[in-house]
Symmetry: C2
Subunit: 281 residues, 2 copies
């Protein structure tokens, strides 16, 4: 079981940047993201989350297009740009990126901080035509030890699988950063809030962790996105957002990651300890 | 993977009876539940769910009180009464009951149908002072093959554990009936919908199953309950409810359980098939 421990940490301002990447326009996307990261840092944020595939856009027409836009991590231009920005501003950045590693492409996210590159997560559960472009993530569900705390990463459809958050919580994650490009779900009633908001609130509550979701907005090659970026506390209640469905905006919350060490719901119950591993198949 | 199969089944009306059991008043609780079951059956319901501990009330003062109110299943008076009613009305009933088995007490639910007793589920995850009264469920997560379809059962705090619904869905459950006595959660903002609604909607969506939750209302020995009974479809959207927070009422929906056999979200993705068992720890 995970307990709050170590010296008290100062409150942490976390921001999720909801914006609209343009397909294929890597330089413009990096420039726009950089502006928004600088604004968030100026407002005091020290952990900043960007959407999935924030440098390239999402709806690739072919594997060739995806391959041409993908870059090595951390030694490609997008990763270097975000690394330099994190070092300059003294912030941690979690950003979705199309990663090229040898012949393989991954829908990935990197985490980089004031002292440089920290690590990469590769999306484990691929959505729709991502299966045409990308290889399935092969790095498991790493928890990154950072100066801020223990940070996990999940990407979009990963959040449909409760196993994702269980793995990260059991691995000690205090916050899971979610670069995402949420799309409407089957049979979704008009005007209904994104199913993803429900899924991530449930995951935060059931695991006693913070979750910070940065979604994109806009319609790209016919595919609409949901917006509604959301920061959730370890009891499952929203701390910031949901953001709008269709406008670029940054949502922020000031949090104490140590709260994720207190998994108790009352004097008898604690959400990880109460698991019945003895009868789960 | 589970596929829709077999002959088409007629639409099924399912009802969740939200009412207010009185602590210790077994005869009165059975009488009140019987009236409400008869009303639901008269309206066409063939699967009827009652709350957790529907025959006894919830807040036992001591293990002795719980033991005095608990009964054998299916050979105690409450189980026999529900069995007789199901046979008479030609319905299936899922009802929460305090079960005595030898020296052990269980927070249990029975399922009984037109042809008699079908089975018992014993709550796996015990909430708060239930740990003083009850033994942890030792029957796993059974899926009952009934004339209506494949029915799983979970009770209240079981729903806080995504493993519960995964086990049941992987076991073939098309619908999970949830007798429950939901209580407010820590840090719950005033007026916020019950966290349980979020948890069960997420579980229905992530597993492609129907979930029918029958909660109680009222305040018992100082403990308030949430109401907000809910019937959810296999894509996670509500089909009936949430019911009120504080009034007895029955919610109903007409469903096709075969929909739970179609787990696909699009031509590439299917919620159980897409699990990455190869990297879950």
């Amino acid at each position: 079981m995970i307990q709050a421990n170590g010296p008290a940490r100062p409150p942490l301002r976390v921001s999720c940047i909801q914006f609209e990447p343009q397909i294929g326009a890597v330089d413009a996307n990096l420039a726009r993201a950089s502006e928004l990261i600088r604004e968030a840092a100026a407002a005091g944020s020290r952990l900043i989350v960007l959407p999935e595939l924030a440098n390239t856009g999402y709806v690739f027409a072919s594997r060739e297009e995806a391959a041409a836009l993908a870059e090595p991590v951390p030694d490609g231009p997008s990763a270097r740009a975000w690394g330099a920005l994190a070092a300059e501003l003294g912030v941690h950045i979690v950003a979705g990126i199309a990663e090229r590693a040898g012949d393989a492409l991954y829908n990935a996210a990197l985490i980089t901080g004031p002292d440089g590159y920290i690590g990469t997560y590769r999306k484990a559960h691929l959505w729709h035509r991502e299966n045409v472009f990308f290889a399935k993530g092969d790095l498991g569900f790493p928890v990154f030890e950072t100066a801020l705390g223990k940070v996990g990463v999940a990407i979009c459809y990963d959040g449909w699988f409760p196993e994702t958050f269980r793995q990260l919580a059991l691995g000690g994650a205090e916050i899971v950063c979610v670069p995402t490009n949420w799309v409407p779900m089957p049979d979704q009633p008009a005007g209904e809030a994104a199913m993803a908001n429900t899924l991530h609130r449930a995951a935060a509550h059931s695991n006693g962790i913070f979750i910070a979701c940065a979604d994109r907005v806009g319609v790209e090659r016919g595919q609409p996105f949901e917006g509604q970026s959301l920061i959730i506390g370890p009891k499952g209640w929203p701390l910031a957002g949901p953001a709008s469905r269709d406008r670029a905006e940054t949502i922020s919350a000031v949090i104490d990651l140590a709260e994720a060490g207190r998994k108790d719901l009352n004097e008898f119950n604690s959400v990880l300890r109460d698991r019945r591993s003895d009868i789960y198949g």
